[in-house]
Amino acid sequence: MFVRRAQARSEPEALRRRTRLGEALVDRGLLSPEQLERALEYQRRTGDRLGRILIALGYVRRQDLYRVLAGLWGHPFVDLLREPLDVQLARRFDPEELVRRRCFPLRRQGSEVLVATAEYPGRDLVEFVQSVLGPVEVRPLVTTEWDIDYAIRTVFRDVVLDRAALGLYFRNPEESARRVLVRWQKIALLGSLVAVLVGMALAPTLTGVLVSALVNGTLFLFVLFHFVVAMAGAQFEHVQAISDDEVRTLRDDELPMYTVLVPVYREANVVPHLIENLRRLDYPASKLEILLLIEEDDEETLAAAKAARPPETVTFIVVPNGAPKTKPKACNVGLLFARGQYLTIYDAEDRPDPDQLKKAVIAFRKGPPELVCVQAALNYYNATENLLTRLFTLEYSYWFDYVLTGLDRLRLPIPLGGTSNHFRVDRLRELGGWDPFNVTEDADLGIRAAAHGYRVGIINSTTWEEANTHVGNWIRQRSRWIKGYLQTVLVHTRHPLRLVRTAGWRNAFGFVLLIGGAPFAFLSLIPLWSLTLLWIVTRTHAFDLLFPPVVLYISLFNLLIGNGVMIYLGMLAGFKRRRYGLIPFALLNPFYWILHSIASYKAVWQLITKPFYWEKTRHGLSRYLDPAAPAASASD
């Protein structure tokens, strides 16, 4: 109530300026009185700035608006695309500060410094420029924020690239996957290998038993851990973190600026779908900043994006070309230019639940101060397309509906999913953004957040994605994920004691079992199943020595109970999603795990040969993308 009064007191001044802008636009024939009325009504509801509203509603072109503002503010308008830029002058400034202040030092002109700005040029602009250049005379010019961003990207191309690619590494090399193995890890790995080889030569039985015990024991713990986590997740399935009522009662004027990053690469075919999907978001357009991150060499996608004529809330950010060419690097570029209080990432083909952003805002408000990110569930709209998509959907349902909710319940670190993770931007910057050298930068970031004492939560909202429809494409994607998991484990166990000290025993143990356990389980699957198959066929006693009683019991438990439990979890995940037709396919999960195993071997090979190589997943292959196809989620 007091806040409202305070707002009411400040309204006449603000209203006067807004009215002047609106009137000026109407006078120049750029806006109709009806449109102005609608915009003012919108403004009363959202409390947002009139200029942003007019652009977001598509009533006024950005450049026209700023030209009029230039007139109102009493300064000339400048088109930065046509102006020569003084690189040396500009580079005396910090690009992040320029982004934040929405200004750009254009050039010197006599004793004056021409500074382009997209904000009202007040005293603080002069003070800011003088704080860098000394006592100079500042002459403001007005331009659009797009022009400012363009100029920064042009002048600071190498800086942007460096910060996006190496920002985390320079800040804290221990948290970056740029080095695959640190010294002690190399020694330990080599030492283990040598020990096994020497052991096999000198005491083959004992060595075989120890390896067998290690493999089976770890698998046992992995299965047990998954079971406990899934039980914890399943127990509270009807508890809605954020109710529909809470979303309904949220007022638009309470909503903060929200940035949506959409990294795309060679995905020209899905751009129109992306634009359509983002249009469905239930969030005031004027408070939504959509940054489409397009690689510099991807002219095809850029052309397609332009041709799709996206709304003015969509900004194209061209990501400077350079190694590593990864999604996290593109996201870091996006983070540099993000102006929202919160930020999320969507893939080009994503269909988020319309109220997802609002739920994230509520979650942050309800959550503790250390809540740095909330993850929405991911699921597939083309689940019934073929056998692979069915199995993939069951796996995703299990992961997001059971495992992540269970981790949340048990207060264990949550590895973020590929998209639909919503961040507090200030905390994300504090954490150093994404690691461009880690190919599962999302999982890494979730664990890094936990290691810094922050929390990751989940929200009851779903983003519908496209499941891989081809086995080859699936293996490419999965091998990248597993390689990323391996990178994440290697990075965060560089200082095991520090990890335990900062994250705690439970979190450290949970992290190692969850992130390290998955590649380990899949790598051991083919050898163990091959042994079993060989034994069944030949009834040889050659392996008996490897399985002394205790190891045999554990091994049998893993084979019989463990696999049964994992299949069962897949079934129940399908049930919870009411995707009844998928449930019988959970019986085929063992075949699906063989694909995982193949992918994990590829991942290990790539970790050795091409650690930072980003295996690009091809999107837009689903027939459900065809507008004529039935709505997939409904058809399930």
């Binding site: 039980m231 009851n460 779903t462 019989l560 049964g564 069962y568 079934m571």
Partner: protein, 503 residues
């Protein structure tokens, strides 16, 4: 920030974790307190039976195997004992009284669940207490609780699974389906019939879903099939796993069904011709007619929830169907099953005047059941012992004999535990015995004088007993008869001291 709810493509109104899920909501401490409280009467009877020296064959078998595994510190020495779950739980502290105590706790836990059901049925507290007392204080119930631990454990697990199954079917509470399936899977390791109950519950899914007035659509059909699969999968998987293990290690996938503790097949009934099976029907009919509480419960269901009558009838006929198929289903277990079905099937919010009638029916059913189990020798013996307070002479002799054997040195007594399991259980140690599970057993059987000092033989072995088959008639060379009791004879190597010499 903690959340578990994930939005689903089709949102249906779900109940919050409210009344129907109260059992789930109790903390484990609250559950444990209630279980302890309800276990007290069973524990009193169990310990009284132990004090009087009574030990059922089923308990003796489990204890003997547990003692063996505990002494040798190797699980595999027990072979593929079925059901393994009672054995594994007794293994925690293998003593002659342990299964009786654990069975009592399982019975107490079951009684607590029944109490919870009666509370939901709306019966006043006093009448609830009387009703529970009436069904508990019968020879068959108390024998089941205190002397048939595997049966009691299985029954308890099936009842727990039943409650979760109901939540799963009615409210589509996935966690409940998860638990119901897992508990049924676990129950298979307590009793073979868990498999049949699991399948029965899965087959009843379509009926229950129809009761919930669900529309017959493609989606509904898939939902039904899915719920059937989710219910049956764990128990089927458990059965397949155990069968696989048996096949892998014995070559015969169904070895476990012939295990003495499991005794799934009734050798006489299994091969009976059809006309003979038809002749059993009147006896089964009389047994069912004697279940007046069950019949009363069925009437109440017909009155208040008529559409639930068919599933109730299907479940109630289950013990009959099993025995008609030629499988073994002990009388106390059958009567316990009827009683529990009668109680958990009671409709909710019954009028108060029903309570005294139910108590009268429970007393009548208890009395009638007492006559039905009168023909069971072991139940009869136990009943006589606990009602008269006089131990059986055979129990006292057996215990004294076992105490003598217990004093022998390690692995010095060659015997086959397929016959001598009662003596091993009574001795409360497997340390002195050299048994078929031991690596030296075969060699000792060939040349006993090099391996053992004593040989324990059964003069009238009931089943396969390698030691008694070989030495039942006369002692081997260098061995003399040392002593014996009843059908048991101990041979002593000539140079070994007597086990029966007075100190």
């Amino acid at each position: 920030m903690a959340s578990a709810g994930i939005s689903t493509p089709l949102r249906r109104p779900h109940p919050r974790a409210t009344e129907e899920l109260r059992l789930v909501e109790l903390s484990w401490r609250q559950q444990a307190m209630r279980v302890a409280l309800f276990s007290v009467p069973f524990l009193a009877v169990a310990l009284y039976g132990v004090h009087l020296g009574f030990l059922s064959n089923a308990h003796a078998h489990i204890v003997a195997k547990s003692l063996l595994a505990a002494d040798r510190l190797r699980l595999e020495v027990i072979g593929f004992l079925y059901p393994p779950l009672p054995f594994l739980t007794v293994l925690l502290y293998p003593r002659a009284w342990t299964p009786a105590v654990l069975g009592s706790v399982a019975a107490g836990a079951t009684a607590w669940i029944v109490w919870y059901d009666l509370e939901r049925a709306g019966l006043p507290r006093l009448w609830r207490m009387l009703l529970l007392a009436a069904v508990v204080a019968t020879p068959s119930s108390l024998f089941l609780a205190t002397q048939a631990y595997p049966d009691m454990l299985a029954l308890h697990l099936v009842i727990v699974a039943w409650h979760y199954y109901q939540n799963f079917i009615r409210y589509q509470h996935t966690f409940s389906g998860f638990v119901a399936g897992l508990v049924l899977g676990l129950a298979f390791y307590a009793h073979f019939y868990a498999l049949l109950y699991g399948l029965a519950l899965a087959l009843l899914v379509p009926l229950y879903r129809r009761l919930e007035n669900r529309t017959v659509s493609t989606d509904e059909r898939w939902a039904t099939v899915s719920q059937m699969l989710v219910t049956a999968f764990p128990v089927l998987w458990a059965a397949t796993s155990w069968t696989y293990i048996n096949w892998v290690f014995t070559g015969n996938p169904l070895t476990y069904l012939a295990d003495p503790a499991a005794a799934v097949f009734d050798p006489a009934r299994w091969q009976a011709p059809l006309d003979e099976r038809v002749a059993w029907l009147p006896a089964f009919g009389r047994e069912l007619v004697a279940q007046v509480l069950l019949l009363g419960s069925a009437l109440l269901v017909a009155w208040r929830q008529p559409r639930r009558l068919l599933p109730l009838a299907a479940l109630a006929l289950f013990p009959v169907v099993i025995r008609l198929a030629g499988l073994n289903y002990a009388a106390p277990l059958a009567l316990g099953t009827y009683t529990l079905i009668a109680l958990v099937a009671l409709p909710e919010r019954l009028p108060r005047w029903v309570a005294p009638i139910l108590v009268v029916l429970a007393i009548a059913q208890g009395a009638l059941n007492a006559t039905l189990v009168a023909g069971e020798p072991e139940v009869e013996q136990w009943e006589r012992v606990v009602t008269t307070g006089q131990p059986q002479a055979s129990d006292l002799t057996e215990r004294a004999f076992a105490e003598r054997l217990a004093a022998a040195p390690a692995r010095s007594i060659l015997t086959d535990d397929r016959s001598s399991y009662r003596l091993i259980a009574r001795a409360e140690t497997a340390h002195p015995f050299l048994l078929p599970a031991d690596a030296e057993f075969a060699r000792a059987l060939e040349q006993p004088r090099w391996y053992v000092r004593y040989i324990l033989v059964d003069s009238a072995p009931a089943g396969r007993d390698l030691v008694s088959e070989r030495f039942g008639e006369r002692p081997p060379e260098n061995f003399v008869v040392d002593g014996g009791t009843g059908r048991w004879i101990v041979y002593r190597r000539e140079d070994a001291p007597s086990l029966f010499a007075e100190p």
